[in-house]
């Protein structure tokens, strides 16, 4: 009798103690219900497997950083945190400040499963120890695409084959010919090039830096040292800023582009106020795919969505660079982190390892309908990436090889991206009517001040 009671008491305490184990996870809210559902499924599977209760909080992309920071400062950080903008804004900074847990024990064994230029981007420098290690976990990535309306192009009197492949001819085509043709035919006051320029927008600096890649300009070397004082670099920057900004003065970019936040070029595109835009994901096309399958919409709306996705919208890469070489795209790898002072490090690592298994990660990535591209080899072999007109192009762009962002070499570039010195320079030219030279001087001075 006594033994049974002791056993029951023991079981009770042990049982309750084990049942009470929780894992606090912060994640970013998806753009589509399927993404959120895939994450919920993943979490449910994990809970079932380990008996650990997961407290999942979802935040919008802009909130993910402040909320994680608030929790950190209050001394109760989440165990696992993932944010769509962590790589842009904070991952490098946190690693440098020594706030992140070293994840090499999870990631090094998986190294062979990753595609090139993915795992390398989380090999970050810890300034406290002076050493690099895997301080974040990569989940998915994005790159720059062009999206345009085929039907608007047709109404302007052109075919897709008419689009030039050379850099200057390409932008000239959209800016003067396509826009003029469409305006003449329909009388509507639309614009052809939806170039994001908002300082508050990551699309803007992504696009501007893509232009910088097209001009072959590198501002930092592989060791993180600044190259902005080199005359060739300066010259390239001036040419690039001038090129990016001129579409507003030429009248083919809407003036409100200087105020656009990330969704706004999508919005302008969906409303057919612009003919083409460059965007850091194919979210524009994917929205119609999502609508196509949304039973809350009417049949006509779904049919319209289907026509838009399959027939009217095109995803494409950029034209060839000004020097004639094929375009090289930069890719941003989206990461999550584990804070070194998390309460439940052991389970946190288990969760990350679990989430990164192909059978869990792939449904989550594919739930975004092509907006995010995988980081693992097995995932890109799937039919998902070849059986769809838009995703096919994305797959081709990534397969041709990508380059990483500056902040993977020098984390201070996250600060410059947050301030958006790039969009500021464009705004100086467009809004304040400065010369590109003066704007670039201000920009490089600030780059040196922050990252030098």
């Amino acid at each position: 009798m006594a033994r049974t009671v002791t056993a029951l008491v023991f079981l009770f305490f042990f049982g309750t103690a084990a049942a009470q184990e929780t894992l606090v996870v912060y994640w970013t809210k998806g753009f589509y219900p399927q993404e959120d559902k895939a994450l919920d499924d993943m979490v449910a599977k994990f809970e079932k497997k380990t008996g650990v209760k997961v407290e999942l909080s979802r935040y919008s992309p802009q909130e993910s950083v402040p909320k994680a920071v608030a929790a950190l400062d209050a001394g109760s950080p989440p165990d696992v945190a993932y944010g769509d903008v962590f790589d842009f804004q904070v991952a490098g900074k946190w690693a440098a400040e020594g706030r992140l847990e070293d994840l090499s024990d999870i990631l090094t064994p998986m190294k062979g499963e990753f595609l090139p230029i993915t795992l390398e981007t989380v090999y970050l420098l810890n300034e406290k120890t002076g050493k690099r290690a895997y301080y974040a976990f990569p989940m998915k990535r994005q790159t720059m695409h062009v999206q345009y309306w085929k039907d608007m192009l047709a109404e302007a009197g052109f075919k897709e084959g008419d689009i030039p492949k050379g850099w200057n001819a390409y932008w000239d085509f959209w800016c003067s010919k396509a826009q003029a043709g469409y305006r003449k035919k329909t009388g509507k006051r639309i614009y052809s090039v939806g170039a994001p320029m908002g300082v508050d927008s990551s699309d803007a600096f992504y696009s501007i830096l893509t232009f910088m890649d097209a001009y072959g300009v590198k501002v930092v070397d592989d060791n993180g040292k600044l190259l902005v004082d080199q005359p060739a670099v300066k010259k390239g920057l001036v040419a690039m800023i001038k090129d990016y900004s001129h579409t507003v003065a030429a009248g083919c970019t809407p003036p409100s582009a200087v105020n656009w936040k990330d969704p706004d070029n999508n919005v302008a595109f969906h409303n057919k106020q612009i003919m083409m835009t460059h965007n850091a994901t194919i979210s524009i096309a994917s929205k119609w795919l999502d609508d196509m399958n949304n039973d809350k919409l009417t049949a006509e709306q779904r049919a319209e969505a289907k026509a838009n996705y399959y027939e009217k919208i095109a995803t494409a890469g950029f034209p060839n660079r000004p020097d004639g070489k094929p375009m090289q795209y930069r890719s941003a790898v989206k990461v999550g982190v584990i804070f070194s002072n998390a309460k439940n490090l052991k389970r946190a690592k288990e969760f990350v390892q679990f989430a990164m298994q192909d059978e869990n990660l792939t449904p989550y990535v594919e739930g975004a309908l092509g907006r995010w591209y995988p980081v693992k080899k097995a995932a890109v072999q799937r039919e998902f990436w070849s059986n769809d007109p838009h995703r096919k192009i994305v797959h081709a762009q990534f397969s041709a090889g990508t380059v990483p962002f500056e902040f993977t070499k020098n984390w201070k570039f996250t600060i410059l991206n947050n301030e958006n010195v790039w969009a500021k320079a464009v705004n100086r030219v467009v809004v304040d009517k400065w010369t590109p030279e003066k704007a670039v001087d201000e920009m490089t001075a600030r780059i040196k001040q922050v990252a030098g």
Binding site: Q62, V65, P66, V69, D73, Q89, V90, K93, R189, G198, V199, D200, P254, P255, S256, V258, N259, K261, A268, N271, Q273, N418, E419, A423, K424, N427, R428, V431, E442, R446, Q449
Partner: protein
């Protein structure tokens, strides 16, 4: 205190006037005031002290002054304060005179007039933001339909955008101050106006010699208070332009929040501390004013 002779009846228990500090009354006074004192200590004193402590690093201020956005923000804030507040108070003064006219339709109008102040900021400021969209907003669409010309870039030209933020602020805050001045006007005895009318005073003279002297103090006090509050007007700028374009329409209130977003909390606090030399003298002045009125009672 009371000078009326009251009939004394047999008291049930000995009654002493509170002035002598009878413990029951004073105890109850302490108990009843305790909740607010607690609220003040926990939610004002501690946060303010913590905030000031966070802003103690000189490095934060240096980074703040080096940020190219900061100088523009200060300029914007000063312009906002001087122009928006004075314009608003002048309009409030004028409209308060309008609303005291006794007409049925004016009374109805005064009820409608309060709506901007009573309804929440998000719906209305978003509505104005969409109205002013240079591409598809109804303002520019109307201008295009009437003149075949593109309307101005309301929210993308930095000066226009700031002007629009000021307009939004005035739209929202004007009813409150109009109401205050209206109440003050109604407190002026009619006989004064009638007497002035008998003496042959014109409308303007009535204002100058009857209305203004009575309103003057309140007007100045209100302007001061409005300046303090406008310094903290976050919604008008944030919800209309978000500080854009290119962080060119930020004011001190929105700049602090921008730093929070970028995980630079020390700088957020530094922004607020920098504004204090402007706010605290005004606050001090207001408080002295009100306690002077207190003693005058």
């Amino acid at each position: 205190m009371s000078s009326i002779a009251l009939p004394r009846s047999e008291p049930a228990a000995p009654v002493k006037p509170p002035r002598k500090g009878l413990s029951t009354w004073q105890t109850w006074g302490a108990i009843l005031i305790a909740p607010y004192v607690l609220v003040f200590l926990v939610f004002v004193l501690y946060p303010v002290s913590y905030g000031l402590w966070l802003a103690r690093h000189p490095a934060s201020y240096q980074t703040l002054f080096e940020d190219p956005v900061f100088f523009r923000t200060v300029v914007n804030t000063v312009v906002f304060l001087l122009v928006a507040v004075n314009l608003k108070m002048a309009l409030a003064l004028f409209l308060s005179g309008f609303f005291v006219h006794e007409r049925r339709w004016i009374r109805w109008l005064s009820v409608i007039f309060i709506i901007p102040w009573a309804v929440p900021a998000i719906p209305t400021i978003f509505s104005i933001r969409f109205m002013l969209n240079p591409e598809w907003g109804i303002v520019n669409s109307l201008i295009f339909r009437l003149t075949q010309q593109d309307g101005p870039n309301w929210l993308t030209d930095p000066s226009l955008a700031l002007a629009m933020a000021m307009a939004v602020h005035i739209w929202k805050a004007l009813p409150f101050w109009t109401l205050i001045l209206m109440a003050a006007r109604l407190a002026i005895p009619r006989e004064l106006y009638e007497a002035a009318g008998v003496d042959g005073a014109s409308g303007w003279q009535k204002f100058k010699f009857v209305t203004w002297p009575s309103l003057r103090t309140l007007y100045l006090t209100s302007t001061l208070l409005s300046m303090i509050w406008t310094l903290g007007d976050f919604n008008s700028v944030y919800l209309l332009t978000g500080g854009g374009p290119a962080d060119l329409t930020h004011v001190l209130a929105t700049l602090g929040i921008r730093y929070i977003r970028l995980d630079q909390v020390d700088q957020a606090m530094a922004t607020i501390v920098v504004a204090l030399p402007f706010v605290l003298p005004l606050v001090y002045f207001m408080m002295k004013r009100l306690s002077v009125d207190e003693q005058a009672r």
